[in-house]
Amino acid sequence: MAVAAIPTPIVRRTLRMTLASVFGPLGQVFLFVVGSAVVLSVVTVLIAVLLRGTRTDVDLVQATLVILPQVLIDGLVRGFLFATIALGYTMVYGVLEFINFAHGEIFMVGAFAGAAFGSVLASSGVLSALPVPLYVVVAVLVGMAVSGLLAVSIERVAYRPLRGAPRLVPLISAIGVSLLLQDAVRLIANLSGLGFNARFQTPNFGPPIRLAEIPVSPDRAIPLILDVRALTFIIAAILMLIGLNYLVNATKLGTAIRAVAQDRPTASLMGINVNQIIALTFLIGGALGGAAGVLFGIRVGTVNPYVGFLPGLKAFTAAVLGGIGNIPGAMVGGIVLGFLEAFVASYLSLMTAGAFSGASYADIVAFGILILILIFKPSGLLGEAVSQKV
């Protein structure tokens, strides 16, 4: 079936084929998003019904339902964050079978590039006058350019000379690059006046959108809100995923990337410049990471040089969860992990009557579930459904 994905060169793609190859994988991702949201919601509500008798002070079922829409939105945003970073891991793994542990730092550098961009705009006084959509597009492009070029240079300097070396050697090189980037950014941030904790300045996004008011008692209603920044994140992430799927599944470059991923020596015999394609993979992965960094910075408002470590680790986990080397898998893994974390963080404390703090145990529970999934499905959620890498 892997062969079938590479059409014979003479065939011209029809629009229908292009759309099918772009939106086919996205449909799969969409099904997983809806599926995991429904399953987690049902399980949570069931637990709430079962535990209803244990709490007398609050109505557990009502409390659960009231924040459920908000938790789903949180999970989705978190999931798209992990998904966009995980794509960088999985694409590099697809072509090189190598885990680029510096990818979390590439994400962080993107966030800092955005912060520096915002700071420059603010000091020249144009920031607040800038329309929000224009600002987002330009800032994301800046982050993509910086991170993409950085990823390509890292590949050239730290990984390419080690191409023939044993597997562990480039891995260690990657860890070294990761530490180097953290401290280099720390130094630059402190010298440049951004500071260790850099404020991510943006134009005013306006108040959050109020989707509904959920009444909990006659005199009190809880607003269901959608932060404009979260909406920006979701829209931008979806656009990037569509773009990536188009590039990989419906263009000549994408065909070359997939060919290199399948069999590097044979691809090079077929006239593909393997080094160029590998650099291109790093460029795309890095640019996606940089865009995620900027969107993350816009959303949280503060970045520091260590901000990439945990999201990087979790995105790597997401890539493995989805089936490493598999692009739709990385998206699915990221979104499932995001949902798991959001549900545990928001509900654990409520369900256990405050005995366990949800925020502190979210990672433990989410990763515990991951271990379970991987025990029963070691190749990841989509690892077997699609045997083809990238």
Binding site: Q70, R210, I225, V300, V303, N304, E341, G358
Partner: protein, 436 residues
């Protein structure tokens, strides 16, 4: 192995110095004002001279050549997210040594500051403490910023009887754990938590609170004292959560949005508080904010912006402008480091002063010779009142100041450079409370 080598080198150096001094008596002793003072009689100190000293713990001091060097260490985060406060402590101590070090140079000692960077991490602080302990010239430590780091380092200091005078640690465990060598010039979190709770209940008029902390000894400690008081006094506690997250607080804020508290109390440091408060406002949470002295930094305003304008926080250290005696310090600080003196820097100046006075007293008791660490520790204990620039301190048996001052402050609503605006924060309440 390494320690032995070091000890050997120091001993060698000491012997050489003694020989040198014996051969060339008239070498220019740096600024020795009293030429009448008898030069150290015995070039090789017999061990019997110091009965308290455990054998082989420290090599013999170089007795001559200006009586040797005395170092005072500082430990605080000089890099990382909390460096704004940590560098202030180092600078405050440095100014203190520059102003008051004369007391020791007049006695013929060379003085030197030995700053260490604990990175606000307990493991780094403990490793630095081992280095400090193995340097026999260090007779006193000014530090730390973070209680958790101080608690990790204190056992090492205790083992070598090294005094630690803290300008900022507020966790009760610092002085309640039975360390004979722990002192501080600030108040305690059990009192600070209670002060905050009382202010929230009576003057802010809130009925319910959601408490978040950073899971450190300091942050969780003060948050727990706040919770105890709240539960005792009928302020409804809607949640109590800890998190080490530094940037993305969405999953903590969702339950808060549902709980709809009147007040969010954050036990922790400004670098975490700022994004938390800002994201809370972004999500439409209208609860008031309150927090302890860890929030006391212009960085809070820089990072959180409008979200924290007008908010209250409790502190054990008011802005330097609140201390009339510290006016000269504030000027000197600005002149030397080109920024306004941050919170706790004036306290670090006083902690340095306490160290210097104790070393001087101990040296005088020791016949003008360099005192041992035990003697310095003893001198701090028996030192009586010390009048510093931030107040008058007298330590009780545990190492707490007998009376400490607690403040409730309000962040200024003015616009402008955060570093400048922060100094305009108003003191809403000032309480002098004896140590419990």
């Amino acid at each position: 192995m390494k320690k032995q080598q070091l000890a050997f080198h120091i001993a060698l150096g000491a012997t050489l110095a003694a020989l040198l001094a014996a051969c060339a008596q008239p070498t220019p002793a740096p600024q020795q004002p009293e030429p009448t003072q008898p030069p150290a009689a015995e070039p090789t100190q017999p061990p019997a001279a110091e009965p308290t000293q455990p054998p082989a713990a420290e090599p013999t001091q170089p007795p001559a050549a200006g009586k040797g060097k005395i170092k005072i260490a500082t430990q605080s985060p000089l890099s990382g997210g909390q460096a704004a406060l940590g560098v202030g402590i180092r600078n405050g101590a440095e100014l203190g040594l520059a102003d008051m070090g004369k007391m020791l140079t007049d006695l013929g000692f060379e003085v030197e500051l030995a700053p260490f960077d604990d990175q606000a991490k307990p493991e780094v602080g403990a490793a630095n403490a081992k280095n400090i302990a193995s340097d026999p010239d260090i007779l006193c430590v000014v530090g730390h910023l973070n209680s958790g780091v101080a608690l990790a380092s204190l056992p090492t200091y205790r083992d070598v009887s090294l005094a630690m005078v803290s300008p900022a640690n507020t966790n009760p465990k610092i002085t309640e754990s039975g360390y004979p060598n722990a002192f501080r010039v600030v108040g305690r979190d059990d009192v600070q938590g209670a002060v905050g709770e009382e202010f929230a209940r009576t003057e802010m008029g809130v009925k319910s609170v959601y408490i978040i902390h950073d899971k450190t000894d300091y942050g969780q400690g003060v948050a727990e004292f706040f919770r105890q008081q709240a539960e005792k006094n009928g302020l409804q506690v809607l949640g109590f959560e800890g998190t080490e997250e530094k940037s993305n607080f969405e999953s903590i804020l969702t339950p808060i949005l549902a709980a709809n508290p009147d007040l969010i109390y954050f036990g922790g440091i400004y670098d975490q508080a700022a994004p938390l408060f800002r994201q809370a406002r972004d999500r439409g949470i209208t609860a008031k904010f309150l927090g302890p002295d860890g929030l006391d930094s212009p960085e809070l305003l820089k990072l959180a912006g409008d979200a924290v304008k007008g908010m209250y926080y409790t502190s054990v250290a008011a802005p330097v402008s609140q201390f009339p005696d510290a006016a000269k310090f504030a000027e000197d600080y600005k002149a030397k480091y080109n920024e306004d003196a941050p919170p706790f820097s004036a306290q670090a100046y006083d902690a340095m002063g306490i160290c210097i006075r104790a070393i001087k007293d101990a040296a005088e008791k020791n016949g003008g010779n360099k005192p041992t660490r035990e003697q310095v520790l003893q001198a701090i204990r028996e030192g009586g009142e010390y009048k510093g620039i931030t107040g008058t301190y007298k330590f009780n048996a545990k190492g707490d100041p007998e009376k400490a001052v607690y403040f409730v402050l309000q962040v200024s609503e003015e616009d402008g450079d955060p570093a400048v605006v922060w100094n305009k924060n108003a003191v809403v309440k000032k309480l002098e409370i004896p140590a419990p």
